[in-house]
Symmetry: C2
Subunit: 246 residues, 2 copies
């Protein structure tokens, strides 16, 4: 495909705010927060109407180079090459793609207004605990969620146990780390300062990093195994009755 023709097609796609696909032999250079160069190779370029731009090699999940939404895209011909530049300010970054050959150009005007719904997030885990507190332990009662503690941040779930002890719960959807436990300790200290009583500290997560296990004992933190999947199932089971309360 002649570069002049490709250039026209790409310009047309940009004008009408289409999603554009370009396949060809290209070099890529990036300079901004970091810098990279990539020699000639056959790749797929995607330009979206919001200025997102992605260079995909034949292998791998991730784009090798990219620019997030909001970048300005320029196209010009130079020295037997077609050059596409995507710039953004803040941070100042430039991505330059130099095509030596172009095999294919397509542009598409896509309509997509569907809502994306994701389940089994950390937020869902919190909802599940509030909905069915016994998954933490029998007799546990939540008092507040997202309680602010001084400058430290927000407690995921704050409550009392069956014996009337205060309980601070930190939720993680992935294995808990030593940093997570330190954060929890900050909350415990904050609550003790504010209320004059030392609360129990529970970290609820699907697992815990080995390096963090010793921290548990050092700081007197309890670990409660809780998976995102389990929480998702609880929400699904209860949703028939209670989702309309949302």
């Amino acid at each position: 495909m002649r570069l002049e023709e490709a250039s026209e097609k790409i310009r047309a796609g940009l004008r009408e705010h289409a999603l554009i696909i370009v396949v060809g032999l290209m070099e890529v250079a990036y300079e901004g927060r970091a810098a990279s160069v990539l020699g000639p190779g056959e790749r797929l370029l995607i330009i979206k109407q919001d200025g997102s731009i992605l260079v995909h090699r034949p292998l791998g999940y991730e784009p090798v180079n990219w620019q997030p939404p909001g970048s300005r895209v320029d196209v010009y011909l130079m020295d037997d090459s077609l050059v596409i530049e995507a710039r953004r300010i803040s941070p100042q970054e430039i991505l330059r793609i130099t095509f030596h050959e172009i095999y294919d150009v397509h542009s598409f005007k896509l309509r997509d207004s569907a809502e994306f719904a994701m389940y089994a997030t950390e937020e869902d885990m919190k909802k599940a605990i509030l909905l069915e507190p016994s998954i933490i332990e029998s007799g546990f009662k939540p008092i507040e969620d997202e309680r602010r503690v001084g400058e430290s941040g927000f407690i995921d779930v704050f409550g009392v146990d069956s014996k009337g002890n205060l309980v601070v719960i930190e939720i993680k959807r992935r294995n808990a780390t030593a940093a997570d436990i330190k954060q929890l300790i900050n909350y415990v200290n904050g609550i003790e300062r504010e209320l004059g009583r030392k609360p129990r500290a529970i970290i609820a997560a699907p697992g815990i990093q080995k390096s963090a296990v010793k921290e548990l004992k050092v700081y007197g933190v309890e670990f409660k195994c809780l998976t995102p999947k389990r929480c998702h199932e609880i929400l699904r089971k209860k949703s028939g009755l209670e989702r309309f309360l949302d």
Copy 2:
């Protein structure tokens, strides 16, 4: 485009391990570590020969759904739809794309053996300091890089200043945080235990978060402004002479 025809094209692409592009009206469901659903909409599907699979909406840098390399891709027709499933084990995950209409299918056999070179990483910053220690301060001399300190981890650069004081340097390519400073303090304490002398602590980074500034004074840590760009330039300038030593 008829779904039967599209199905044949996609199968052919899979057989010959091509990169495949499908544009059409689709629904997407994902279940695995988390779960998501996405109703009908016009999107771009990319299937790579290594089993990477990406669903891109008309806007945004990120794919809305995906599967990393190594997943198995199946294609079948069902109830006036074309279904593409990508499964992987460990973690057990499934991505199901149901096409109601297909506008375009293309497959490409791409050759791309170029090496990707990235500059101005944290590693590059360390190299720049070792190559030109005066960018930290006049008279600074590196002794070791990646020195292990007990269980804490590795010091980026360990050296002595012009007055013979030990110096521990922590490098960050982004603004330094309070956590970075605490990490550095761990190293300082480790070195003091090991060598019986308290070293100076320097954090070298392009900037520092406001919340971390007070930690500097509290712990007696020094901040040295050092940008990845500057380090990259030093490496480039010196590379004429010294790159062949690598």
